[in-house]
Symmetry: C2
Subunit: 596 residues, 2 copies
């Protein structure tokens, strides 16, 4: 890593750049960037999905969040990079650090395509304060990275209406209605999942994300799709033409934007938090910008009736796969040799055997004992450990099916566990069910309910360093906005009103560094509850069908209503899955879902 | 009321005004306006503290919130005014209504001194859209109101430092530090409680609010206090002079502001939500405005150590008064004749007997049976009813002492009650204790915790139409910002981070219109809990010392931890109050605080 750092600093010196920033980002603010975009990993050796390297001529830091502290600590050893734990006391934000370090008249450098416009403007502000400047038109890591992987280019395919539930024509019409309301003549969409949702197209350009590298320019009549030519076959080309979508070469968007900067096209709707700095600035030069969230974000978050019915089926298939795998695991651990990787592979096999399975929805997290405490652990050949008939195994996994995507975590008791582990297993489960059982009036936001999941831990001065839940896409990104469960209002973010059709994960956890980790995750669909004199009430339908390991529960910590909720959930699982299981599997599941 | 409406419309016609707005407000955006400002009451007959009359040449409406729906319905009968239930489906906001009703080129009228600048600017925007204009320099109701009461003018007195805990010099220094940080050269303070807090002055210009009609103009060196001359005696005059405060006649603030409009004084810090439209516009004409909340708001919300210690003592005295009164009530109801008013009077007597008692902190709400469902009920000679040895009595009351202010609600079981009443009494109490027992990391806001109080009702599709709690002032306003407990983010408001020293009421309720009402209210002080690996945790100290009526509790609805919390609270009350009670009172309280 030290070689890369030296090479980067040489390029910086040549250009008079004082601070260079390298995020782990693609051109689209995707959460998971492809190998082509792994510039910060190339520089630092840190493999987590969220890390930003900041390099001055003397110092080098990597900023990441609580999910990755343990992993980054290990991976950064000897890299020349210091770990900067975001959100911890005394750790400056990237902006604050840069403002401190940038010399008067200095230059901040970054590739303008991998930094969003909002952050780019913050950096421009810092440079301005110091009477300095930005250098944004070069990818310095690209210049030194000789064996860089190619940009992936998968085949686009059409998601039929019996899966999507709404035609592209209808989606385009709705978005244009919003454009008309706002008086905008152009809308720039660069979020890959928004584009995939609008066009009912899928691909596999990003690992475990069925998306296509593309940009979409939508006007009141026209629609330009910037996409790699090789991704589009005759069928897709014809389908797009039918929908009035014109195909353009992927990279030519910048030439289009530069040309646009010379003339105004009226008001343009685009979101500075998702459109990259280079594109945004070029378009903003000539036009008035309406900087708002893409209308498609909220539309796709509220799943339609077809999607909801499909997703229920996807979860049943997922549940069948999980039960078969759990039975194998519980019956064979301790006798058959197993490792974290072999267990994850077996689970992938069980999912792949299901009809219409497409891919895992993310890299399986299979963490045994101490590895369970690494929130986003990914077992590697080096870290992989044998799994025995004792302790806790945390498995967070999911699948993409034509019928939608799943995301589930179970913490499995493989044999003897400590009283402390049972206590924490149970407290986390109490929080999980408290949130899952909530009923609330229309208008309540994701910020209002988080305390239900956190309370059992907060009562003891304990916590977990991640949000309680995230929105889930339909055969799109497994993390999807605007809904989530959290108590902190993110900077510049609005709380999301919980609305029918939204799907959010409910995944509280507890982690003892170096000892064990616990997380219980289901997916919750917002559905109507009842209308009373006090207005409309909503509640959650639990979409996940997989038992919680009863061996982990200390029933003395549960009250009657909690036991009832767990029993009802388990009974529902048994009844739903039994028809798809063998007699032997049924017997096994019947016991695993027994009343407590 | 119809006479007033006719007279007002005549004045409107003379001036070519199409819509005239009359809020129940003084010149300071105080929550409770004095009799002089009861213009909307004069017009409509509605006596609630929050009601805005909107009069066109054909229609007349009164907008009020959920607390007052029942009361307004009764009082508006035959007034010529329609009740507009704010927040209910299909009821337009005042702005939306005005935008619909204002004719092209029409005129909106209001007294610019009783509408805040933010709302005034919204109204100006509506007029502009219709190519119309504003008429804001006349008080039309004042013109027709012949027997209007005089503006009250009480004697100012100094709150000594052993009560305030901080000198005026220190408070002025802190505010000037904030001014310097923000680069503002002038700060306009018009909130009466902020002025009283800054100057450590009290008075009684507003019923039950120990405040003085005044405006404060603060510069980096100087300080002008606009106040009625007769309020200030020699002692106060000398005290103010010592602190560098110059006295000006109350009304002359407008001449000062108009003079200011001709020259810029640099940046001026003032809050458009609290400074009135007339003053704000005059000052904004010549200067750049920094429109932010008064720095004093957050300073006074976090009570200092002296205030906290005093407030604890105020609550002990209040508790002694309440226990004496409760014992009298419970022992004599059914034998001695009583009414809502006589019971409230007896309570006032018990409070007045306490040392350093100054005033009630608001008009006592003493609502028997069906009256308990009127959230802000005030018994009048007409509404007053005899109270018998059955059913529920809801009493929401408080006192101002030199040691601080109290606000408490108890729902008292006077004899047989229904199972339904006991159930609701218990569910509301569960919510009350869930919130009071919360422990949470630093950073949590008032919006995050509200669900704890609401959950037992929401689970049944029930609710109450008021916030769960409000900040409480120290011998100032009984409703004080920025802290509260609520789940809705108010428009343009930020959630308030719960910080040490903040005092917030915890008062969930349940109301069955025409049948009964239940509310349980204590005051909660934010205090440190512990520091763990997960950061600093905070919790609440319950400041209120008065038992909840055990006769109202259905113990089968409580779990063990809830019983424990109630028992601990009652034990704490007994031990704290016993030394101040007679033997007989001790025996009575011992039984009322028995273990359940």
């Amino acid at each position: 890593m030290r070689t890369q750092l030296t090479a980067l600093r040489e390029k910086m010196r040549e250009r008079g750049i004082d601070i260079y920033i390298v995020p782990a980002a693609d051109f689209h603010e995707s959460e998971y960037a492809g190998d082509y975009f792994a510039c910060s990993k190339y520089l630092t050796g840190f493999t987590g999905s969220a890390g930003t390297a900041v390099v001055t001529l003397e110092e080098a830091g990597l900023w990441t969040d609580g999910r990755y502290f343990l992993q980054a600590e290990t991976q950064l050893a000897d890299s020349g990079f210091t770990l900067c734990r975001m959100g911890e006391k005394g750790v400056p934000t990237i902006s604050a650090y840069m403002e401190e370090k940038l010399p008067e008249g200095g230059t901040i450098g970054f590739d303008g395509r991998v930094i969003n416009a909002a952050f780019g403007r913050t950096l421009a502000g810092i440079a301005e304060k110091k009477n300095g400047r930005l250098h944004t038109n070069e990818d310095l890591v690209g210049l030194i990275w000789t064996d860089r992987p190619a940009l992936s280019c998968s085949k686009a395919w059409i998601l039929k209406e019996n899966y999507s539930g709404e035609s592209t024509a209808s989606k385009l019409r709705k978005i244009r209605e919003v454009m008309a309301e706002k008086g905008v003549s152009m809308h720039v969409v660069t979020c890959l999942d928004d584009i995939a949702w609008i066009l009912n197209l899928r691909g596999s350009d990003v690992r475990h994300c069925p998306l296509l590298f593309s940009y979409l320019i939508l006007t009141r009549k026209g629609c330009l799709l910037y996409i790699q030519e090789a991704s589009v076959d005759e069928e897709v080309r014809a389908y797009l033409a039918e929908n009035g979508v014109t195909i353009q070469p992927y990279d030519s968007i910048y030439a289009f934007a530069d040309a646009l900067s010379a003339r105004s096209v009226g008001k343009v709707l685009m979101n500075a938090k998702t459109v990259n700095y280079r594109l945004y600035e070029a378009i903003a030069k000539g036009s008035e910008i309406v900087d708002e969230v893409n209308p498609s974000q909220c539309m796709k978050a509220c799943k339609n009736a077809t999607e909801v019915q499909n997703i229920r089926n996807a979860h049943i298939k997922d549940g069948v796969a999980l039960v078969k795998w759990l039975k194998w695991l519980k019956e064979n651990v301790g006798t058959e040799p197993m490792t974290e990787i072999s267990i994850a592979d077996k689970l992938a096999e069980c999912r792949a055997a299901q009809e219409n399975f497409i891919d895992l929805s993310f890299d399986t997290i299979c963490g045994y004992e101490a590895h369970g405490a690494i929130i986003h652990y990914g077992a590697t050949q080096e870290s992989n450990v044998p799994v025995e008939a004792k302790g806790l195994l945390l498995v967070d996994s999911g699948g993409h099916y034509l019928e939608g995507s799943t995301d589930i975590t179970r913490t499995i008791v493989l044999g003897p566990v400590t009283e402390e582990q049972k206590k924490m297993f149970t407290l986390v489960l109490k929080g999980h069910f408290a949130l899952a059982s909530a009923k609330f009036p229309r208008g309540v936001t994701d910020m209002n309910l988080d305390v239900l999941a956190k309370k059992p831990l907060w009562d003891l001065g304990l916590d977990y360093r991640h949000g309680t839940g995230h929105g889930v896409g339909y055969l799109l990104n497994i993390h999807e906005g605007p809904n989530s469960f959290r108590w902190k209002l993110l900077p510049n973010a609005e709380p999301a009103v919980l609305t029918e059709g939204m799907i959010t994960s409910d995944e509280p956890g507890y982690y003892e560094d170096g000892v064990f980790g616990i997380r219980h995750e289901d997916e919750l669909l917002v559905v109507p509850a009842e209308e009373t004199a006090y207005g409309e009430f909503l509640q959650f339908e639990n979409l996940t069908y997989c038992p919680f390991d009863l061996a982990g529960i200390d029933t003395s910590l549960l009250d009657a209503s909690e036991k009832k909720a767990i029993n009802a959930y388990h009974e529902h699982i048994y009844r739903t899955l039994a028809p798809f299981l063998t007699k032997e599997e049924q017997l096994w599941l019947r016991y695993e879902t027994r009343e407590i």
